[in-house]
Symmetry: C2
Subunit: 436 residues, 2 copies
């Protein structure tokens, strides 16, 4: 029987890493998870496949076109395209078993069959946190979120980043006051400020039919400068008599105050009145996070406050606030920009290279090291010593343990530090001390 | 606009846990991962979606019927149904970039659209390790695998379990010697020994057309008793002159010797000549693992040696040995049997309950605790103190920190141990010491 060979390949838009990079990716995942847990968020893990009817309850929009949807038997299925819809379904479904405010984190893969292009992925990790209230949720929660962002990105090794904060009510109220009932288009234009510049914004707004006077007021608004406190004062000074605006201003003022109490340094957050977030979904505070030296990467962590999480699944009103880190895309961009240190990419601490006749001694040593929670590999294949050392070299493992007849006789081990090249003959006790 | 409400529910066969159980599940995942890393296995993470042509290269069998397969655009896609096929594709695809023996672990979800029934899942976690050689792979690797199983299940909290070891070559050679060319059916029958008993096996073999004399030899073979060493001696004493049998016997003898060197206690492994593993795939050593007190749960960790991992993707010969833990099913069964301790199921160490006017102090305390890597939640919602304590109670968090005006004045904190009910007024320094 002739065996056909199928060319081994993955689909475009699906990231697959070699172990050294996978280790770095997993370290980032771990740091994110540790931080989420440090702030008291609880894990959930929902199915990747759900009923299409459930996942698409909201319907419409760009997302629906991108969804992986298919039938199995006579069930209409879909793969989750974010972690927010599953959260809404989860909270509605398990409502009576949860304690509110419900603080959950969820790290998992989501799927979007979008057009394949560089840096866009069809399968990617999202790392989400949300705080969901039952009927109400205090504004302090909106101030706690930036402290999670700060702590997480600090631990990920970033120093120079800025969390930009705004409030959709301030925007909405301001535009209502200007007589613009539906501010969706205007907000979309303002969101593009970074890309199209102030002149582009003016042009867009003119095309939308705004008069020059109104456009001047919009420009004045998005031009508000100064410290956070000065910006808040300028907003107050606009003298806008609109309830939504003033509610938003109060919230933004509170968030600004408590973000500092939560320990986020002044240089790491800023009120930015041009941040709107594309999604209709958000109704209050919104966040975006930028690496100061790499603005082109775009926002690396975004989110905001919404007033009703699960209206498609329950009549219960569930306001919430949350953020998401799209780790697959972030990792890809950091790699492209050479921003990931690839030095510390071995999980294995030591590899044992025994001479053939010393295998028993080597296995015993491996067992002892592992009992002491030292990640240990043992090279047991037959072959020349040169080949064995070559293997150890390629693996980037920091230490090699050499065991030959001499070592067996003395009941000692030759430890080689692969960075310095230094070698020392040690008994097991000292070896353990050195490696811990 | 009337909003239709969609009933929030998951599909049958998809496990979804509440946070307290999810925490326990994740702890098991972590322990498995730590152990895999301790033995020098490297992580990989492959796409859940692959080309159907690639995943089904082997074709046929039960699995193909169960697969989730669908089209997107004009691409024929499938969800992975195990982690072995993706490993084969991965090793073939990245062959030149990997170092052999390639030791990888992979923990991820796989999908099988099988008939939904109690304890069977359509989405489940597999936790796999494999050691893959280039052209050859020494038998010592087969002896190292049980030490990974032992270490992992020990750390998972199991004391009384048995790793059963056999070798397919011993079986194959024995049956060839009996004149049975294709032993697939006979092996399948022997595999059912636990279920159908010795009489059932005899009946099945008669139906397969074996004569009484042959059946007697088969029964004699599977009745071989004693210590591992006695069993090996009995096999030798059969005086079988068949190369495959003798190669298998040599391998089994070596594995038995080195398993002990690798530190697996005598009481935790046994040579069991009736273990065959259903899959055609295995060609040498095979493993199954049973909880001594709960044999009905079936094997909780199985695997074996195969001589060619990736023949469908490459001409390179890639022998390997590996095991898999099906964690979703195992977790479900442990829960059903009440074998999971649900006491230690809070990730959060402390929850801060401030009186309303002491919010700033509470936020500062939360930040300090978190800076010291203590998982901390702060209850910031408005409401009566009773409600706040109720929330703390329900969360199963071991400590509560109470901050009122008195505490603020004294710059101290009231720590309440939720297990003992003991309260103490402490300055931050002492608080940190107590919680670490």
């Amino acid at each position: 029987m002739k065996k056909d060979i199928v060319k081994p390949s993955t689909l475009p838009g699906f990231m697959e890493l070699l172990p050294p990079d996978q280790i770095l990716f997993n370290k980032m995942l771990d740091i994110i998870r540790e931080n989420y847990e440090k702030f008291g968020f609880l894990p959930i893990d929902t199915p990747v496949i759900e009923k299409a009817e459930v996942l698409l309850a909201k319907g419409g929009g760009e997302t629906e076109k991108q969804i992986y949807r298919f039938e199995k038997g006579d069930t209409d299925l879909a793969l989750r395209f974010d972690l927010t819809v599953p959260l809404a379904r989860y909270v509605a479904q398990h409502f009576s078993e949860l304690t509110f405010p419900f603080r959950r984190y969820h790290i998992g893969k989501v799927y979007r069959g979008e057009k394949s292009q560089k840096g866009r992925f069809r399968e990617f990790y999202q790392c989400d946190i949300d705080i969901v209230g039952n009927e109400t949720l205090g504004i302090i929660n909106d101030a706690e979120i930036p402290s999670v962002i700060y702590s997480t990105f600090k631990d990920l090794g970033f120093d120079s980043f800025t969390i930009k904060i705004n409030n959709r009510k301030v925007l909405k109220g301001f535009f209502l006051w200007l007589g613009i009932e539906d501010s969706t288009e205007v907000l979309r234009t303002i969101d593009k400020l970074g890309k199209i510049g102030l002149e582009g914004v003016k042009k867009d707004l003119t095309e939308q039919g705004l008069d020059n006077d109104t456009i001047d007021r919009v420009v004045e608004f998005i031009n508000i400068k100064g410290t956070n406190e000065e910006k808040l004062q300028s907003l107050k000074d606009l003298g806008i008599e609109n309830d939504i605006f003033n509610e938003g201003l109060k919230e933004l003022t509170d968030v600004n105050h408590y973000v500092e109490t939560f320990g986020v340094p002044k240089e790491n957050y800023i009120i930015d009145l041009t941040i709107a977030r594309g999604l209709d979904y958000y109704t209050g505070t919104v966040y975006e996070t930028f690496l100061n030296d790499y603005p082109n990467i775009g926002s690396i962590c975004s989110g905001g406050r919404y007033e009703d999480l699960a209206g498609f699944y329950t009549k219960q009103k569930l306001p919430g606030v949350g953020i998401s880190i799209g780790l697959t895309r972030l990792f890809y961009q950091l790699m492209e920009a050479n921003l990931i240190e690839t030095i510390d990419n071995s999980l294995t601490k030591i590899i044992i290279i025994p001479m053939e006749e010393c295998l028993d001694k080597a296995i015993e040593a491996a067992s002892t090291l592992r009992e002491h929670n030292i990640n240990t590999q043992i090279y047991t294949e037959k072959g020349k010593m040169g080949k064995k050392f070559g293997y150890a070299d390629k693996q980037n493992i920091p230490y090699t343990l050499i065991i030959g007849t001499e070592e067996v006789k003395e009941n000692k081990y030759t430890l080689r530090d692969m960075t310095t090249g230094e070698q020392s003959l040690l008994p097991m006790e000292e070896l353990l001390l050195r490696l811990k």
